[in-house]
């Protein structure tokens, strides 16, 4: 009995220490993130951004957007892509064997006609069924292919067909900011070692969208979407920005990633067997160049470059989170030799061990901690006051971290300008700790079990047409 008691108490204390360490580490990262933001604000002036247009040889960008059953959003998204104010560029839509009216809708709206298109196929993908060019939009190419079962497969087909020096891989429902490409191309013009650039992804739920542009940013009605907004802020503006300040970015979100095409081809493109194809590709790029001792930079723009839809129903969110979890575990396992390995520089020493400890083990420790502490308290090994203190400390630090992310977001982009929205964000930051966070950890555990048993597919997300 004494052994059990000591074990439960030790585990509870360990969990408390873990919570404290996680929150303190997030706050400790903030100076790096703030420095990065401050620097970006000072150097990313209008004159400096003009370089993308004034450069002697403008970088040709191919925008690659895989689309699978996107009939609700594809036309709006394509219009937004066509309105991007960057030249020269082409748009390559990959219809990944959609079973709905995605292709027919594009054919009708953009007057697509079958056209010959020859391209090399250095990256593996499912066979292409046909190629279409638009009569009304000369920059638009549509690749119609068999479903390859993953976004990676479709993205590879798009990269094969792309003729740009740079390829921007986005989701079909991503809404780009007008100046997104001009901003994202800048690091490539400044530093030849730049192989990829990612950006802050905003959540479009609740926003007004007109002619493919987000014209009014507002918080959505759905609490689920609101929780995800602050989650995104925390992820993009603390950890990722801190990584960017150390040239150690290990994740470029699938919603917006600008890559040097030759670099992507050199590492074999997206891995079709990867569940988290975005993090897998980013880490592979880092590994490829660092292992060869070649200079490499993966940039990150803290300003919102694009908008995406977040799931508003529990089922879609659960499936997304379980998939993310499986993807993370798969990636950590694949690149385990890089973790803590100084050969890979800051990437091996800072973000990968951090992710392995806090994100890899996090959900298991969190859920285990809740269960063990409650059991220990129920058996009288711990008093309830201890539980209260543990919960209060973790909630308060959690709220502090989230408010810090809200502050950084406000300083960077002034997205939510209404005072009401800001107050609501603060409320969401507090409420998130009561239920939503625990649920996420639980889904993390489910995802872990799925990863270990080899279950779980891509899952589906209930999409909504953009609100005009």
């Amino acid at each position: 009995m004494s052994f059990l008691r000591d074990g439960l108490i030790a585990f509870s204390l360990l969990i408390t220490a873990y919570f404290l360490l996680w929150n303190v580490s997030q706050i400790a990262m903030s100076p790096l993130a703030i420095r990065s933001l401050w620097r970006d604000r000072l150097r990313n002036t209008r004159r400096a951004r003009g370089l993308a247009g004034g450069v002697a040889v403008p970088r040709f960008v191919s925008i690659v957007a895989p689309a699978y059953n996107e009939e609700l959003t594809i036309v709006e998204s394509l219009r937004a892509l066509l309105a991007v104010d960057y030249q020269p560029r082409e748009i390559v839509i990959v219809n990944d064997g959609s079973t709905d009216g995605t292709l027919a809708l594009m054919q009708e709206t953009f007057q697509l006609v079958p056209a010959p298109l020859a391209f090399d196929q250095p990256l593996p993908s499912a066979p292409v069924r046909g190629v279409y060019r638009s009569v009304s939009e000369p920059d638009l190419v549509v690749i119609d292919k068999h479903n390859g079962g993953s976004k990676a497969d479709a993205a590879n087909a798009g990269i094969n067909a792309a003729s740009g020096v740079l390829v921007l891989v986005i989701d079909a429902d991503t809404i780009l900011e007008a100046d997104a490409l001009g901003r994202a191309v800048l690091p490539f013009l400044e530093d030849p070692a730049t192989v990829a650039v990612g950006g802050h992804v905003g959540i479009a739920n609740g926003c007004r969208i007109e002619r493919g542009r987000v014209t009014d940013v507002a918080l959505p009605r759905s609490w689920l979407a609101r929780f995800q907004i602050i989650e995104y802020m925390r992820a993009f503006l603390l950890f990722r920005l801190a990584c960017a300040s150390q040239n150690a970015v290990v994740l470029i979100s699938g919603a917006f990633g600008l890559f040097r095409r030759d670099a992507v081809i050199a590492v074999g493109g997206y891995d079709r067997t990867a569940i988290g194809e975005d993090i897998d590709l980013t880490i592979r790029l880092q590994r490829h160049f660092r292992a060869r001792g070649e200079p490499v930079r993966i940039g990150f723009d803290p300003n919102p470059l694009c908008w995406t839809q977040a799931p508003e129903d529990w089922r879609s969110l659960r499936s997304q989170r379980c998939r993310w979890r499986r993807g993370l575990l798969q990636t950590l396992w694949r690149y385990r030799r890089m973790i803590g390995n100084p050969r890979f520089g800051t990437v091996g020493l800072f973000p990968l061990p951090y992710i392995a400890f806090f994100e890899g083990l996090g959900p298991l420790l969190e859920v285990g901690g809740y269960v063990v502490t409650i059991v220990a308290a129920a058996f009288g090994f711990l008093n309830w006051k201890y539980c209260g203190v543990m919960i209060a400390v973790s909630v308060l630090f959690g709220v502090a971290v989230t408010l810090l992310a809200v502050l950084l977001n406000d300083v960077t982009s002034r997205q939510y300008m209404r005072g009401r929205d800001l107050a609501l964000l603060a409320a969401v930051a507090t409420l998130e700790s009561f239920g939503y966070r625990q649920l996420n950890s639980l889904w993390g555990c489910v995802g872990t079990v799925q990863a270990m048993t080899g279950k779980g597919g891509w899952g589906s997300m209930k999409r909504k047409a953009f609100r005009p």
Binding site: A118, Y386, A400
Partner: protein, 352 residues
């Protein structure tokens, strides 16, 4: 374990208070930052409303408006300078630049620039350099050139931006000799060369002879600003021992344009053993419709390695009737070369 729990119990109030204090501090920071932003925005709005019409009139030569600006409080001068200079990023009308410079001069705003140039804060130095470039304050060219060696990379970038906007030929040599300076942003070096155009050419040609180790960079620069004068030298560098130099020399010839002699060199380049060289030779022939059997010599390269085939196909498409004949001859074939030929023919005739 009991001792550990005891220690935790002693630390518990401290932890709770620390967490609470952190959360409250963050909440206060959010509120204060937003309040400060609101106040600043209101102030800026007031100043802009007051000075924007005056600046507009002063730039159109209204002396009364200029006098009013001259008597503006010192604390408003940065805002006025911004109103005068910021539009010049997009509007490079020489008359507007000259007027803005005259107002800046009259308002003694150059003193602020001097102060900023000597500042220890890199962003102030960068801001001053960009502003001086935008208003083409050529008296400051030596300072801008000196700033190309500033210890901070963003200041060096700003100096290059400033010199690009300044367009003062006295800075030309300083810019050209830095073509190899990798501490300066690559895109900015190219943008500066593009602005100065063919004025850079004599320096680059001379340097490409004197400094063979960096010949590749000079050829790349000639691809931006070279003219017919560069052709003989570029033709010579197509025989350089280094593959990269040879390929880039062909690429530069594509930008410079061909004459009969250089076209002969380029057509011969199609027979190179190195695919990058063949690809750039094919590229260099783009649009060529002069003497020689260029189209016929290019057509077999539709079956070459992918990089060469693409360049050959696009070039054939650009060669007019001679290219079309070759493409049509291969369009019926089922292989990738045939598909490339069909694509080029389709693109040329696509309804637009």
């Amino acid at each position: 374990m009991t001792e550990l729990l005891g220690a935790f119990a002693r630390l518990a109030p401290i932890m709770v208070w620390a967490a609470l204090a952190t959360a409250v501090t963050m909440a206060a920071a959010v509120v204060l930052e937003r309040a400060e932003f609101g106040v600043q925005q209101a102030l800026d709005h007031r100043l802009l409303q007051r000075y924007r019409p005056l600046v507009h009139r002063a730039l159109e030569g209204d002396d009364t408006a200029r006098d009013e600006l001259l008597h503006a409080p010192a604390r408003h001068r940065i805002t006025i300078a911004w109103l005068l200079i910021e539009p010049l990023i997009a509007d490079r009308d020489p008359a507007r630049i000259a007027n803005a410079r005259a107002v800046v001069q009259a308002m003694s705003l150059f003193h602020i620039a001097d102060r900023y140039l000597g500042s220890r804060l890199w962003w102030r130095r960068a801001r001053a350099l960009r502003a001086l470039g935008l208003i083409q304050a050529t008296d400051y060219t030596p300072q801008l050139v000196a700033a190309l060696d500033d210890p901070h990379p963003d200041v060096r970038a700003a100096a290059l931006d400033g010199l690009t906007d300044m367009h003062d030929l006295r800075a030309l040599e300083a810019i050209v000799v830095r073509v190899n300076d990798t501490s300066l942003h690559r895109g900015r070096r190219g943008a500066a060369l593009k602005v100065f155009g063919s004025a850079c050419e004599p320096f680059l040609l001379e340097l490409s002879e004197l400094d063979p180790a960096n010949r590749l960079n000079y050829i790349q620069a000639l691809a931006i600003c070279g003219t017919a004068r560069s052709r003989p030298v570029l033709c010579r560098w197509t025989r350089d021992t280094r593959l990269e130099v040879r390929a880039t020399a062909f690429e530069a010839l594509a930008y410079v344009g061909l004459d009969d002699e250089s076209a002969r060199v380029v057509i011969k380049g199609l027979e190179s053993d190195d695919p990058p060289v063949r690809a750039m030779a094919a590229y260099a022939l783009r649009g060529w419709q002069g003497p020689g059997d260029a189209a016929a010599r290019l057509a077999p390269h539709l079956d070459d390695t992918w990089a060469v085939a693409v360049q050959a196909a696009r070039t054939l498409q650009s060669m007019g009737p001679a290219g079309s004949v070759e493409l049509q001859a291969r369009a019926s074939r089922p292989d990738i070369g045939g598909l490339l030929a069909r694509q080029m023919l389709w693109q040329a005739s696509a309804p637009r």
